[in-house]
């Protein structure tokens, strides 16, 4: 999968590396601020109540 993405990024090695970094950052931000807040209530790590 990653080699497929790498082949499709335009430019030389420098440009590819920069764009790849941008992609990783974009995915990280999406996970941190959109995906995790929505799925974490399904996980048991954060229970602090007695019930």
């Amino acid at each position: 999968m990653y080699s497929w993405i790498w082949r499709r990024l335009p430019g030389g090695t420098g440009s590819k590396a920069f764009l790849a970094l941008l992609l990783v950052l974009a995915v990280s931000v999406l996970l941190l601020f959109v995906v995790f807040p929505r799925v974490e209530h399904l996980l048991p790590f954060t229970d602090v109540t007695v019930d």
Binding site: L32, F36, V48, T49, V50, D51
Partner: protein, 244 residues
């Protein structure tokens, strides 16, 4: 290189990339739990504090505290614990679902309200989401836990013997570790059956234990000292607020 070898190689590479990706996502989740939730909870606390300050500004104050009728998801009081830091203050929200606890300490719906006979029970996160109760284990018997409402202050003291530091001197210990299913800690009289009438005005804090785990619960019990202190009589709070 044979065609079969290529297939194996591609397959193995795919598995390797999948594992690396899963590892990265899990690390990112740890970063989220420990840091990002702190930022989000900090913003939420700031908003709740502003909301309370706005609501309370210019509120009329009678000779005795007005009854409180908190709505789920809304802030209604401040919690001050000088033992956790001189400026330690958090807005308490009504309700203990994840949504409420993501903003700050949450009041168990149906338990007593500040100053009332019964058990004013509050849950809060130990690690992440601002970590309000991170150092709850450092509270000693006799330490003040102060609740501030629109018109009054209530000073609770952690149960136990302040001289020896022993939590378990009475029928209700100042601190205990219980399984998550033990709801008796938030009974009107802590540790009694839920239908036993209250034997005093208590405050109970619950959080997870040990740190970074949700296997058990750390519980702190405190009892009301005296009665309400009207805000009009103590605009800057009771003397207990300066203990630390």
């Amino acid at each position: 290189m044979s065609r079969g070898g290529d297939l194996v190689r591609t397959g193995l590479r795919g598995v390797g990339q999948l594992l690396l990706t899963a590892g990265f996502v899990m690390l990112l989740f740890v970063v989220y739990e420990l840091y990002v939730t702190d930022i989000l909870a900090g913003q939420a606390q700031d908003e709740l504090s502003d909301q309370l300050d706005d609501e309370w500004a210019g509120a009329a104050s009678g000779p005795t505290p007005a009854p409180i009728t908190p709505e789920v998801g809304e802030p209604f009081a401040f919690l001050h614990i000088p033992g956790l830091g001189a400026d330690w203050r958090r807005a308490i929200v009504e309700g203990t679902d994840q949504e409420e606890l993501a903003q700050g300490p949450g009041h168990y719906v149906g338990t007593a309200l500040p100053g009332e006979q019964g058990n004013f029970a509050v849950a809060g996160h130990r690690v992440g989401r601002g970590s309000p109760f991170l150092d709850l284990g450092e509270l000693r018997p006799g330490d003040p836990i102060i609740v501030e409402t629109s018109d009054a202050w209530y000073v609770y003291r952690v149960l136990g013997d302040p001289a020896t530091g022993d939590f378990a001197t009475g029928p209700i210990p100042g601190q205990q570790i219980v399984p998550p299913t033990d709801t008796s800690v938030i009974s009107p009289t802590p540790l009694a059956a839920p239908d036993v009438p209250p034997s005093g005005a208590y405050l109970t804090l619950t959080t997870c234990h040990p740190k970074y785990s949700a296997r058990q619960r750390m519980i702190v019990h405190a009892v009301l000292e005296g009665g309400p202190i009207m805000r009009a009589d103590a605009p800057d709070g009771p003397p207990a607020l300066q203990e630390g």
